[in-house]
Symmetry: C2
Subunit: 216 residues, 2 copies
């Protein structure tokens, strides 16, 4: 499994400690201010994405002199920077997974746009390859099927989050179970927990997010 990391521009206060300490392994893509933050940590991203209009002239010079592959999303294609990053990472560079940091905190319109991009028909296929990580949460995405999910050691809570109508949701061996539940609209089944180290679940249609989280 190859993986690539993506840093978007949300507040650094929401970063997981591992990122703050510069200990996340693997290559990076930076979006907008994310690129500058990577450079200041001594990381040169493979690709920088954005129009960089929030950067000063000297910051822009730093980005241009450091990163060889710089791209801009095309608004006419109704494409956001994060969406372009997914295309570059998973289609063009053909990494198996993309871990996205910096997508939480601050502006909620940005967070929701990022959370929901897997609902767009052209990105839906990539849902299982995308993960959002911040200091309190890990979000993963699932297409219909049967799954065995591993507990993350530093997380206590487990939430099953249908992002749209989901049919026949089964939570099989978690603290709170469900049996063939048809979920008609988005809902966050919050504050569930693993019983052991692995939780099994399945569903027949729709798109499901799973959030492992902890209190800060």
């Amino acid at each position: 499994m190859t993986h690539l990391n993506l840093l978007v521009g949300g507040p650094t206060s929401e970063w997981p400690d591992q990122l703050t300490a510069g200990k996340v392994s693997g290559d990076w893509i930076g979006v907008d201010r994310g690129t500058l933050r990577l450079l200041s940590m001594g990381i040169t991203p493979l690709v920088a994405i954005g129009d960089f209009d929030s950067l000063s002239a000297s910051e822009l010079t730093q980005v241009k002199s450091s990163v060889s592959d710089i791209r801009q999303a095309i608004p006419e294609k109704d494409e956001t920077d994060t969406e372009l990053a997914i295309t570059v990472a998973l289609k063009e560079y053909q990494y198996d997974r993309l871990d996205i940091y910096g997508a939480t905190g601050g502006r909620l319109d940005h967070f929701l746009a990022n959370l929901w991009l897997v609902l767009k028909p052209r990105y839906r296929q990539f849902a299982p390859q995308i993960r959002f990580i911040d200091r309190a949460n890990t979000i993963t995405f699932y297409l219909p099927g049967e799954y065995a999910l591993k507990k993350e050691a530093d997380k206590k809570y487990l939430a099953f989050v249908p992002l749209e109508k989901v049919d026949q949701l089964n939570l099989i061996d978690e603290k709170y179970t469900l049996k063939d539940e048809d979920v008609p609209y988005p809902i966050s089944y919050a504050s569930n927990e693993f019983v052991g180290q692995v939780g099994h679940f399945s569903f027949k249609s729709g798109l499901l997010a799973v959030i492992q989280s902890r209190d800060n």
Copy 2:
């Protein structure tokens, strides 16, 4: 217009300055740790909601000796603390509006559960009366109709956020406009802006959130 404020237990770092400074007018309901935070600001809430199981014995004593009306949500009714607070504020006490603080930051399963409670049939009618407020964002909710929305002085960005399928969305005089757009699934039309002090919009079916926001 009468309004009531609700404080839930999210991190204080996400509070708007006005709340941190203790300058939000009106009466309060506290949920869980929110009640304790209100008491420590010298505010005695009308109602305290929660099982308070994260509080120490002395903290619990403080709550019980200060607040006369203490309630617990009934899990068997599939009711969350925030949902009970909405029922108490808007049905029982018959306030016109409810402003919710402390719902962002930290755990995303909690945030999404709160954001989406207006999609539940029994809370949908209350959507226009509910507002989420944090330091970067104000979220309001709309049922189908025609609206004139006032710009908040301290916010720059405007996002239209269908929480489900929305038909014939018109953004009439904003920076980016839409004409009779049928939106098939949740999407965050982020980073729009007001042109003047008022923005007009309309839609025919579904439930729409609007987020005014600013960079921190």
